[in-house]
């Protein structure tokens, strides 16, 4: 469904994403991991249309989306959450979802919105002001809810669990587990916790210094020496240390 073909993103002299090729199917749940600064969010920005790749090709459902703007990609079914939640200001939670659904799918279906609100545990917060009356867990839930409201085929989740405490994290993990089953979306999620990834994803892609250094099952990837090196550094472990 999503095909990245040798995608590179350069900012001046800095190469944030280096010739990444990746295929995501409609029933995949893929984890995207890598040390800080590896280029994960930049890759998401390139896929969703916030940033223009310097070279390479991005195809969504067979069509080349390199020239399509961000709002058009959203309408095509590419949903995405931001690492730092960006609720729509001056609107309530429900209004946030109404806008997302209205402009992402073309019409408003309140029954569907209620399902999403229940699923993300936001039903009782529906009337609250999105930018000033929500706690962090709720803001993160709203990010997911907004993306779901656009009826996406692929969902890019950027560190949804970051900054959450144990309870919130557990609830979210339950939600993420059901996400694919309930809404039939393909998922690519950026997370740091290896256990979470192994738990939720059948496939893991590892980014280091902008390059894709591994792509496989969690077991295989997390035992890969190159991956271990990228996380803990070259001098860790080994008999000579």
């Amino acid at each position: 469904m999503l095909e990245l073909d040798n995608v590179s993103v350069r900012f001046g002299g800095l190469t944030a994403v280096d010739a990444v090729s990746l295929k995501v199917g409609s029933s995949d749940v893929i984890g995207l991991v890598g040390p800080n600064g590896a280029g994960k969010t930049t890759l998401f920005n390139a896929i969703s249309g916030l940033v223009r790749p310097t070279s390479g090709q991005i195809r969504f459902e067979g069509r080349n989306v390199m020239a399509t703007s961000m709002y058009q990609r959203a309408r095509l079914g590419l949903g995405r959450t931001f690492q730092i939640p960006q609720p729509m200001h001056e609107l309530t939670v429900r209004e946030n979802l109404i806008v997302a659904q209205r402009f992402g799918t073309g019409k408003v279906d309140h029954a569907k919105l209620d399902t999403i609100l229940d699923f993300t545990s936001l039903a009782d917060k529906a009337g609250r002001d999105a930018s000033s009356e929500l706690a962090l867990t709720e803001l993160k839930a709203l990010e997911v809810a907004k993306a779901l409201a656009t009826d996406p085929k692929l969902l890019l989740l950027d560190e949804v669990l970051a900054g959450l405490e144990t309870n919130g994290k557990r609830r979210f993990m339950g939600m993420l587990k059901d996400l694919h089953a309930k809404f039939g979306v393909g998922i690519v999620m950026i997370e740091h916790d290896i256990e979470t990834i192994s738990n939720l994803c059948q496939r893991v892609a590892v980014l280091n210094f902008g390059q894709l250094i591994a792509d496989g099952t969690p077991e295989a990837v997390f035992r890969d020496p190159a991956v271990i090196k990228s996380y803990v550094g070259a001098d860790a472990g080994g008999p000579d240390a």
């Binding site: 703007s69 709002y71 960006q86 001056e90 209205r102 799918t105 907004k146």
Partner: protein, 324 residues
Amino acid sequence: MKTTAWIRNTLLLAAAYVAVPLALGGNQYVMSMVVAALVIGGVALSWALLGNLGGMVSFGHSAFFGVGAYVSALTTVKLGVPVLPAMLLGGAGAAAAAVIMLPVLRLRGPYFALAILAYAHIFRILATEWSSVTGGAGGVAHIPALPTVFGFELASKSGAYLVVLTLVVLCALAYSRIRASHYGLALRAMHDSEDATRVVGVNSTLLKGLMLLVSAFMAGLFGAFNAHYINFLEPDYAFSGLWVTLPIVAAIFGGYRTILGPVLGAVVVYLVDQLVFKSLIPTGHQLVLGLLLVAMIVFSPNGLLPLLLKALRRKEAGKEKQHA
């Protein structure tokens, strides 16, 4: 709409359409001032719409006003188009002028404001220099007046009043409809969180552009009306900075966040300007307007009228408590 708001609006409309002409119809002087005030109110409404829905502060609405005036005047004088359709053409012309301004939309707040200011200058110079079309600095004279419809002379002071009042009502309705729609929601969100809207499928650039066109159309409409009302046009008048300053002062005075605020503000500010300021300082009476603007922004940017109303309501509440 809530019943109280409905009742209030109907009463206002009845007062405006019936009571005012009956009461003031005989006094030509006052009526002409009310008409002028409503023209300013209309431009103020269009300015507030652009600010509230489009999130853009414009210092160039004189451009839309002037273009609307000239397009309407010239199509009637040179092409023989009847007056009322010509006014619509005037609005369309102003919207076309706004299309030329669309690339400026991607500039941030201050840059956008200055760019619009530059455009206003351009149109004024064009009107002055393109003499073959616009009549140059001399302007256009003998512009056809508003027609007589069903025996009723729209060109009379009362007739013109009803026409401009209708224009204001229609524009206010359109404004209110847009604001209440899903587009209105998206537009509000776009002010501080544009990326959040774009990522869920909102074509924010298109929406902003449309708001600019709507605002321009409205301002152009009032410019066109004005041309047929005073029957004469020249560049320095049509593109005068007064069409920028007065609407802004009016909108902020009356409370630019509400729909009717700018219109009510215009009536008050214009009447005070004509009756008080102008007699105090004949040339440069705009100076007092500038002072008023500065004072308002510093002390009460949400408008003076809402503040006064709130104070009045508090006094009423206080009195009730005493009697209770």
